[in-house]
């Protein structure tokens, strides 16, 4: 029984919250905040229960037949658990942040309602046991994030929302197409470690085409070049949205999907035999370099961070596309590490905008004196993305580099080096400006006066995630670090 209900409950904990918030009136701020935080805590508890169950050997599956041969399946393996934990943990801090950020703004009911639906969809994507379920929740994610993107209702927001919808709905259609095509040829596909697909008599060129259709479809959300343009545009959304979208929900869902397709649908060996891994590596490389080069020339902080995300998500894809457990570990652990680091940076960007009206990097001179804690969190996130020890990003870089060498793909190390150089090129100047330059002009506006540098609800989340960034790197070899858990995934996908 428990194996059926726990996945369902995890899904319902935010689904019901969302519905509840819609029915709660706009003015019921306190009740809504309590409901939010309670639900986020409940979800964390449920996920922990699932972890304990997993380590005790319990397996979780919830299955409904929807159509003949097509079931809705919620299943958890360790990869799903990693994504669940990341999403629920970051949902918790982002909710706190959003409550503080959106204080005194209209339409908070609508915002938090769709926020919760968005997280439910992410839970569904994480726990999806077959391609069909994955598709359903993937589309639900698109629909629930659109209102968040256009939340402010301005002309720019609406335009950005439209772009977002066009890209993601197109991607969704192509996803539907690919799934339908594959299932017509090979029957219903459930995710199986090592690959569910039995190629049998399906012609190889067809398999290759379907693979690339999958990648294009999932690549929209993963912001692969040239399908990435929606991401910088979506920066008009409020900071909590950018934080969640870019760290957890949307981009990670795309990357998660790609990992699932490569490992649990096709299987790494079949993919290797088909020869689709090399092109995938090249796509990832192009995105890594292009994203960073675009980031160099942005003056708006959030746009620079957006292009940085474009670049960093492809680290995950690169890791998955390289044959061998070491690179895969590097890629998948970056889902967690990049999530933590990027959300820290977006929280800080939101703090700067909200407290001091600073949106552009050129306005950031001397911000470290005024907001030292936020700037420290920013520095930690930035240094982590450049790949310096002891931060989490270094662990990723180390594993990706080693994995590439193990697999004989030495050129990837050069790509990593160039990418680090570019990252340093667009993060170090910000750090320099923030800490080492003096400020002459007054801030665009000073919104906050109080003992702390800003509202405590805006200050605490980036500090929490920054500490996690340090901990994930420094304590990477303890049994509960993201690295150790992901190494368990590698044992499953690459049995010794």
């Amino acid at each position: 029984m428990e194996s059926f209900w726990l996945p369902v409950l995890i899904l319902l904990s935010s689904l019901l919250t969302g519905l509840g918030i819609f029915f709660l009136g706009e003015e019921r701020h306190f009740a809504r905040t309590v409901l939010n935080m309670a639900a986020a805590s409940v979800k964390l508890v449920l996920v922990s229960m699932m972890w304990i169950g997993y380590f005790e050997g319990q397996s979780y599956e919830a299955r409904w037949p929807l159509l003949p041969g097509i079931d809705l399946v919620l299943k958890t393996d360790i990869f799903a658990l990693v994504f669940l934990t990341l999403s629920s943990g970051l949902w918790f801090v982002t909710t706190l942040y959003a409550v503080g950020y959106l204080e005194e703004t209209p339409q908070r009911s609508r915002f938090f309602g769709f926020f919760s639906l968005c997280v439910s969809s992410t839970m569904g994507i994480a726990m999806a046991g077959n391609l069909f379920t994955f598709l359903i929740f993937y589309e639900m994610l698109t629909l629930s994030t659109y209102p968040l993107v256009v939340h402010r209702g301005t002309e720019d927001s609406l335009k950005a929302g439209r772009t977002y919808l066009i890209y993601t709905l197109t991607g969704g259609s192509i996803l539907l197409l690919s799934i339908a095509w594959l299932q017509t040829l090979a029957g219903p596909i459930e995710f199986v470690a090592g690959g569910a697909l039995q190629p049998n008599d399906i012609p190889l060129p067809v398999l290759r085409i379907i693979f690339f259709l999958f990648i294009s479809a999932l690549g929209v959300k993963s912001a692969i070049v040239p399908l990435h343009s929606w991401l910088p545009k979506a920066m008009v959304a409020p900071a909590p949205v950018s934080a969640l979208l870019h760290a957890v929900a949307v981009v990670k869902a795309g990357a998660f999907g790609i990992v699932r397709v490569v490992h649990d649908v096709y299987g790494i060996n079949l993919a290797n035999d088909l020869g689709v891994l090399k092109p995938l590596m090249i796509i990832a490389t192009v995105t890594i370099l292009y994203g960073s080069m675009q980031a160099l020339i942005q003056n708006e902080l959030k746009k620079r961070l957006a292009f940085s995300t474009v670049s960093q998500i492809s680290y995950i894809i690169l890791g998955v596309a390289i044959l061998g457990p070491v690179a895969m570990i590097g890629g998948i652990v970056h889902i967690v590490h990049q999530g933590l680091m990027k959300i820290t940076l977006f929280f800080c960007a939101g703090n700067f905008a909200e407290t001091l009206g600073v949106h552009k990097i050129s306005e950031m001179n001397g911000i470290g004196r005024r907001m030292p804690w936020t700037m420290t969190a920013f520095t930690i996130g930035a240094l982590g993305l450049i790949g310096l020890p002891p931060f989490a990003g270094f662990i990723t870089k180390w594993f990706l580099g080693s994995g590439a060498l193990h697999a004989g793909e030495d050129w990837v190390v050069i790509v990593l080096v160039i990418s680090s150089l570019l990252n340093a090129g667009y993060f170090l100047p910000i750090i320099y400006q923030g800490w080492f330059m003096e400020r002459e002009d007054p801030w665009p506006f000073e919104h906050h006066v109080g003992p702390l540098e800003t509202n405590w609800m805006l200050l605490t989340p980036p500090l929490i995630t920054a500490i996690l960034v340090i901990a994930s790197g420094l304590f990477a070899s303890t049994s509960f670090s993201p690295l150790s858990i992901v190494e368990l995934i590698a044992l499953v996908e690459y049995p010794p």
Binding site: W230, G401, S477
Partner: protein, 582 residues
């Protein structure tokens, strides 16, 4: 695991852990404004942990922290012991020096916080017995010292800082690549497992270049004569005395020295070292800032140490003799150079006539030591190095025996120039604090005596007291002094004669001049090559055709109709394919 390594006792383990950790923790506490004044007083004492570790921890003791990073191991061995000894002494004494000295400048807490971070990094990399911790501490030290370089915030310091950080990043990336290659091949991140890795030209080249940047080896040395003078005096002392040795220890740890012979690389390294020895002297003599003279002297001296590393690469059987020589030389140079830099700080203070005379005279000691005068640590170090030469294959002994004395003449000229500049230094206005001059005197005493206490000294002390050795040391100094006096005499008498004045940053200035001639797009007046690339990209992005095209494509991609057409095309393609496939 190597049988010579044993787990450290609790006391040793605590020392090993505290040495790098304590300064870093203390630096973090500087964030709290209320604690800063107290922290400033305690900060100089943190170097003591390193000193105690160097004196009390037995070589072979290791501390394993498997849960940290990818498995951390800190440990002591012969190399670490010598390095830690002079490094800790320098940071300790320079720390006390800066307590008094920096009080008269702004932002002393910031300086001290970054001083502590760099100290922690320096100590940590000496004690690291695994590649990941080494990289961590190396990065910490390099990045934290950036703040020391730009501390004065004037145009020159900021410029120097930019060159510095760019080369730091380039060096880090080279070292990172080499590290990944080595550890993947050796299958371990622990140093004692790494002798198993077989050499690969690329990794050796990356190691030599990457750590060479830090050690001031040609041709990527040009950050040194900018950064060391730009930083405040106590920072310059530790930069030149301790931090550039981090490049050296990188070579010692990761090159297959003593394992097998790499004659071509060895030859290259020796030639680079010789070139640096003479180049540093040549350019340094013409400088008008005493700190720049010292910086070029560091390049020159590190060149001599590099020769030692080259000898190690050519003749691995000699390594048991070569390594102590290199360590002794590093110790000697570190202490002497530190003392000289701090001396610059002393000479710029407000001193009475007698105090000025005494301090300048006291500076003769480290200067003579560097020149290799008898009874100083210099002659010990040079004897040790010379002892490795006869066993080299021909024709090295002949060449080195004739070239090294010439390098000694160069060093003497540099020291003469330095002392000349100090002698004519305009008196300063700021009074001298107690902690400043006491720490300096202590350092000078260290220069005089410490080298003689090392085990290597015992071997060479008799040799260095022999008349023949003394003569070999004295005649280059004599000639050097003669040249110095003649040139001073000439410059006083005939005002037309001047020393060639090459601006500091030599190669860099040449690069900038060339880039102006090739006329790259608008670059600011004080920018440098790497920065130019970024500015070029940024500037070009708004003007170049290709970027305009990219922007246009981006805008079009977002266009509804295009997406619709793409979708239709995709559907048609699929439909068509489905007709074709069985």
């Amino acid at each position: 695991m190597n049988p010579l390594i044993s787990p450290a006792t609790t006391f040793e383990g605590t020392l090993l852990l505290t040495t790098p950790l304590l300064p870093v923790l203390m630096a973090i506490f500087f964030i709290i404004p209320a604690w800063r004044s107290k922290l400033l007083i305690i900060a100089p004492f943190t170097g003591l942990a390193g000193l105690l570790a160097a004196l009390l921890v037995e070589p072979g003791a290791t501390l394993d922290l498997p849960w940290n990073l990818l498995g951390t191991r800190l440990g002591m061995d012969a190399t670490a012991q010598t390095f830690l000894l002079f490094t800790a002494l320098l940071w300790l004494l320079a720390g006390f020096f800066s307590y008094g000295y920096m009080a008269q400048y702004e932002h002393q807490p910031d300086f001290t916080a970054f001083y502590l971070l760099s100290m922690g990094g320096n100590f940590g990399l000496i004690l690291s017995q695994d590649i990941v911790s080494f990289y961590l501490f190396f990065a910490l030290m390099s990045f934290a010292s950036y703040a020391l370089v730009i501390h004065n915030r004037d145009a020159f310091s900021i410029y120097a800082g930019r060159v510095y950080i760019l080369l730091v990043i380039v060096g880090e990336l080279m070292v990172f690549t080499a590290f990944i290659m080595i550890s993947t091949q050796a299958g371990t991140i622990y140093l004692d497992g790494m002798s198993a890795w077989s050499s690969n030209s690329l990794s050796i080249g990356l190691l030599l270049l990457g750590f060479g940047i830090k050690a001031g080896a040609l041709p990527l040395h040009f950050w040194l004569p900018l950064a060391h003078p730009a930083a405040p005096v106590p920072a310059s002392a530790v930069l030149s005395g301790a931090m550039i040795k981090a490049g050296l220890i990188g070579w010692l740890r990761f090159l297959p020295l003593g394992s097998y012979s790499l004659p071509e690389w060895g030859m290259l390294v020796i030639m680079s070292g010789l070139a640096a020895a003479f180049y540093g002297a040549f350019i340094g003599i013409g400088q008008s800032n005493p700190k720049t003279v010292l910086a070029y002297s560091s390049i020159s001296q590190m060149g001599l140490i590099t020769i030692g590393v080259g000898i190690g690469l050519i003749e691995p059987n000699l390594w048991s003799v070569t390594l102590p020589a290199i360590l002794l030389y590093a110790l000697h140079h570190g202490l002497a150079k530190g003392a000289l830099f701090l001396g610059v700080g002393i000479s710029t203070a407000r001193l009475s006539g007698k105090a000025r005379k005494w301090s300048t005279t006291a500076m003769f000691l480290p200067a003579l030591a560097l020149a290799g005068a008898p009874l100083t640590s210099g002659i010990l170090a040079k004897s040790a190095l010379k002892a490795t030469i006869p066993s080299l294959p021909n024709p090295w002994p002949g060449w080195l025996d004739s070239l090294l004395p010439l390098a000694a003449i160069g060093t003497t000229l540099l020291m003469a120039r330095f002392l000349y500049l100090i002698w004519h230094q305009a008196p300063g206005k700021k009074p001298l604090q107690v902690s400043t001059w006491i720490s300096w005197i202590l350092l000078v005493i260290c220069v005089a005596f410490i080298a003689w206490t090392t085990p290597a000294a015992a071997e060479y002390s008799d040799y260095s007291l022999k008349l023949s050795t003394i003569w070999l040391a004295v005649w280059p100094i004599g000639i050097g002094l003669l040249i110095a006096f003649i040139s001073v005499y000439i410059s006083v008498r005939r005002a037309g004669w001047r020393l060639i004045n090459i601006p500091p940053g030599d190669v860099l200035v040449l690069l900038e001049w060339t880039s102006k001639k090739i006329s790259l797009p608008p670059i600011s007046h004080i920018s440098m090559v790497g920065d130019q690339i970024i500015t070029y990209l940024g500037g070009a992005a708004h003007t170049s055709k290709s970027t305009q095209i990219i922007f246009k494509i981006e805008r079009r991609l977002a266009d509804f109709t295009i997406i619709g057409v793409l979708l239709l095309l995709t559907a048609l393609v699929i439909f068509g394919l489905s007709l074709v496939t069985p």
